[in-house]
């Protein structure tokens, strides 16, 4: 499976907003373009911790700059968001109003029950936990250079005590593993 197989084309929602694009259409979302995935992950963390409603997405193909992910945000909050990011030292290289469909990560979790173990797959990453102890027993997938390190840091740790992958990894695999980790947490909360 390719790294981006989990990203499928889905039109962004059109909601009335207070800004227009070049053709006069109303747009209320924009996206922030960063130099690399590491910055996207950092910026997402900063913005979410400040309570902003943002989402990491795949950019439209015509965006030639930046990395393979962008952050979608409410355009009306542009100045405040840019100020927050500037203070955190992770400013985007570009801010673009959403005029075209974004490549949107869709529901991408796959669960597999192995009896005593539960596996969650998010995109290209798999996380497996022993149900009784809630310890992480396996991390695999990806192909990014930080996967062995992520695995080393997470394996044999209880889910509640394990570090968040987003704090350790700076690649798309780290991001996908974070999604798997969050889904696993939801599974055992339910």
């Amino acid at each position: 499976m390719g790294l981006f197989d989990f990203i499928r084309l889905k039109p962004a929602k059109k909601v009335a907003g207070n800004k227009g694009d070049k053709k006069g259409n109303k747009v209320d979302r924009g996206f922030l373009v960063f130099e690399n995935t590491s910055e996207v992950i950092r910026a997402e963390k900063v913005l979410k911790s400040e309570g902003w409603e943002v989402r990491v997405m795949g950019p439209p193909p015509e965006i030639q700059t930046g990395c393979d992910l962008v952050i979608e945000f409410p355009l009306i909050e542009e100045l405040k968001i840019l100020s927050t990011l500037q203070k955190a030292g992770v400013s985007p290289i570009k801010v673009v109003p959403v005029e075209h469909p974004l490549l949107q990560p869709v529901e991408l979790f796959q669960l597999k029950d192995f009896g005593q173990y539960l596996m969650v797959r998010a995109a290209n990453m798999k996380l497996t936990v022993e149900k009784e102890s809630l310890k992480i027993v396996n991390v695999s997938g990806g192909g990014c250079p930080d996967v062995p390190y992520l695995a080393q840091e997470l394996i044999n740790k209880p889910l509640k005590e394990a570090p968040q992958p987003r704090d350790l990894g700076f690649t798309l695999c780290g991001y996908a593993l974070q999604l798997a980790y969050e889904e696993m947490q939801r599974q055992f909360k339910a």
């Binding site: 192995f114 798999k126 497996t128 027993v137 396996n138 695999s140 997938g141 062995p148 044999n156």
Partner: protein
Amino acid sequence: MEKKIDVRGLSCPQPVLVVLQEIKTTDKGRLIVLVDNETAKENVIRAIESQGWRVGEVKWEGLDCQITIEKD
């Protein structure tokens, strides 16, 4: 003669789960794990080391890899 755990042909994470189940019932000693790809080899080694086992000899024969794991 060491017990052999053959996890060839299993897809991730099953090689790790099978080996973990086996070492749960084995306090100490020496086991041979047979895998058929590099990822399974790395995942199994990482898993057994987290359980206090150590890796002895790792020997490739064609597409198969024989990992000796030990615990005193």
